[in-house]
């Protein structure tokens, strides 16, 4: 039952808010396990039986609200469940000692509320419902980003929150325009209605603008590096692997399910493509010149998000449906492999900080000797980000390059080619400093077994997902509730 994926995290959140602090983490871990199991179960059902559409409250849309679970939702749900489970496991030990211990009681209710919000976002089938869920996600994510309580993280959290709120308001205005044009809030009814004229043009612009603010696409990327690098390690992993993917998911839903006003979308998609290519180059360059590990990883997120937006011009310029499908699959692959690799990197960075006390790249000498497992994790996740075979990142970038070349849009190829080189450069910059041997270095602290393992498992998954490419493509191509050229399938 897909509803369980909403009910479990919310019940666990309430429970963990009411009970005493020391039991909260075990509630959180149990809930994470249940969510993982029920999302695997749901995946099996969708895979074999096809998409599901459920009404809530006993009312049919457009009067009531529905939930829509298709291949795209299930892929995002699984990504969230996997990363979420590993992060929960990691957090139990991360928040158990030192100055992090006092954050423990606050982390769990917020994280579970955020998880519930993300799961309900993936099932969303009503545009106003999407707004409420987005707000739930923004507030809990901003509160998590401020968990450290130091001045720089508070500032970063508020900067993020102001942008997220401005994005929400723009999105709400867009909902008003869609409602004015189509007289409905249900996505399927909106998709079936006539869409033309300036009203729809404004709606597409407002919705896309509001959502790219939250997704941190250039030029709205400036809030991301401080917010993601100042937060505690598990929170950084959640924010960059899941929260920005949540708003990206909504962009995909709107662009491929709801809108079909071809002309307005064509010009907007060009803008998105230019922003995407700029993001890839600018983000990688910034990552290369940073000197703190978490800042490098955060700027790397800015650049990897750019790849996702190259999808949009490809969808409107290539006429061949086969290559459209290829570009679409590449984009989702990139989302998954970036989510897994980035979560692994942030968790590994958390290990390094606990061990060395800082994340300055100069102070990371000889960690290859003292923390071999964490260094290995950094290397594996780096391979996936660079897009070397057989990683998931390789599959994504290979398919992306192929569809760029067949579409004849050569300017877009700058991103994967030059971006890949720059990515390799900053990954080597991280790795090379870990192998510098330094006998006189300060005493390194030991890292818990589970903290090293959960980061490693995520990195391994981002490499190994390449071997499950067929199943993912099946979910993406045969279990869609919509047609790639716009609108729902009957």
């Amino acid at each position: 039952m897909p509803e369980l994926l909403i009910l479990i995290p919310f019940s666990a959140a309430i429970l963990s808010f009411v009970i005493p602090e020391k039991f909260r983490k075990w509630i959180g871990l149990t809930a994470a396990l249940f969510i993982l199991v029920s999302s695997l179960d749901l995946n099996k059902k969708i895979y074999t039986n096809g998409i599901q559409r459920l009404n809530l409250g006993g009312w049919d849309p457009p009067l009531g609200i529905a939930l829509n679970i298709d291949g795209l939702s299930i892929i995002f749900t699984l990504l969230t469940a996997t990363v979420g489970f590993m992060v929960s496991l990691y957090s139990i030990w991360y928040f158990s000692k030192g100055e992090q211990a006092e954050q423990d009681g606050y982390f769990w209710p917020l994280w579970l509320l955020l998880w519930g919000g993300l799961n309900s976002l993936y099932f969303v089938a009503d545009i106003f419902n999407a707004y409420v869920v987005l707000e739930l996600i923004s507030i809990s994510a901003a509160a998590l980003a401020a968990l450290n309580g130091n001045a720089s993280s508070l500032k970063a959290a508020l900067r993020y929150f102001l942008i997220a709120m401005a994005g929400s308001m723009t999105f709400l205005m867009g909902i008003g325009f869609i409602f004015a044009q189509t007289g409905s809030l249900d996505m399927q009814t909106v998709a079936a209605a006539e869409q033309h004229g300036p009203l729809m043009f404004s709606a597409i612009g407002l919705i896309t603008l509001g959502l790219i603010m939250k997704t941190a696409l250039v030029p709205f990327h400036f809030w991301l590096p401080p917010a993601h690098s100042e937060a505690p390690a598990p929170v950084s992993a959640i924010l960059s692997a899941l929260v920005i993917k949540g708003s990206f998911f909504l962009i995909l839903r709107f662009w491929f399910c709801v809108f079909h006003e071809a002309q307005a979308m064509y010009y907007t998609s060009l803008l998105l493509g230019v922003s995407g290519v700029t993001a890839v180059l600018w983000g990688s360059y910034q990552a290369l010149i940073q000197s703190r590990l978490k800042m490098i990883i955060a700027y790397s997120s800015v650049s990897q998000i750019g790849y996702l937006f190259i999808l949009f011009p490809l969808m409107f310029m290539s006429a061949d449906p086969y290559w459209k499908l290829e570009a679409w699959t590449a984009c989702i692959f990139q989302t998954i492999s970036h989510g897994l690799a980035k979560a692994a990197l942030f968790l590994a960075a958390g290990n390094l900080i606990q061990s060395c006390g800082t994340d300055h790249i100069k102070s990371m000498r000889n960690i290859a000797g003292s923390l071999p497992m964490t260094t290995f994790t950094l290397g594996l996740a780096g391979v996936s980000l660079m897009g070397l075979p057989p990683s998931g990142g390789f599959v994504a970038k290979w398919m992306l390059l192929q569809s760029i070349l067949t579409s004849g849009q050569w300017w877009l190829a700058i991103a994967p080619v030059l971006g890949g080189l720059l990515t390799a450069a900053y990954i080597f910059k991280i790795l090379s400093s870990t192998f510098v041997s330094d006998q006189k270095g300060p005493q390194k602290r030991n890292i818990s077994f589970f903290m090293e393992k959960s980061a490693l498992i995520l990195a391994l998954l981002s490499i190994l997902m390449g071997f499950r490419a067929e199943e993912i493509s099946f979910l993406l191509q045969e279990r869609m509730s919509f047609d790639l050229s716009g609108g729902y399938l009957p």
Partner: protein, 105 residues
């Protein structure tokens, strides 16, 4: 129809004024006020739609949406104000350095 036109245009203007204020004001308190102006604009647009609907009565759905939106807006405002207070306590400042510079490129 004319009443509707007056209010929907006003709503759009209020929304844009709020957005502009958010971008130009360095002070955090004023940024939060500007967000609330934007919200007011978006709500006014929805209500003017409800007023304009040609049904047997006024469309209750946008009204319910605005009621939900007002609760969400006051929650978000109070959370943002709490962050502002903490920043003031920690740093003695009431703005985010660099944010006004980054805002409009």
């Amino acid at each position: 129809m004319t009443t509707f036109a007056i209010y929907s245009i006003t709503a759009v203007v209020l929304f844009c004024v709020g957005l502009m204020g958010l971008a130009v004001h360095p002070n955090l308190l004023r940024k939060i006020v500007c967000l609330n102006i934007m919200a007011g604009g978006a709500f006014l647009f929805l209500i003017s739609l409800a007023y304009n609907s040609q049904g047997p009565e006024m469309d209750p759905v946008p009204q319910a949406m605005v009621l939900t939106g007002i609760v969400v807006a006051v929650s978000a405002t109070s959370f943002a104000l709490c962050l502002t207070r903490m920043i003031k306590e920690r740093t003695g400042q009431c703005h985010l350095e660099g944010s006004d510079k980054d805002k409009d490129n």
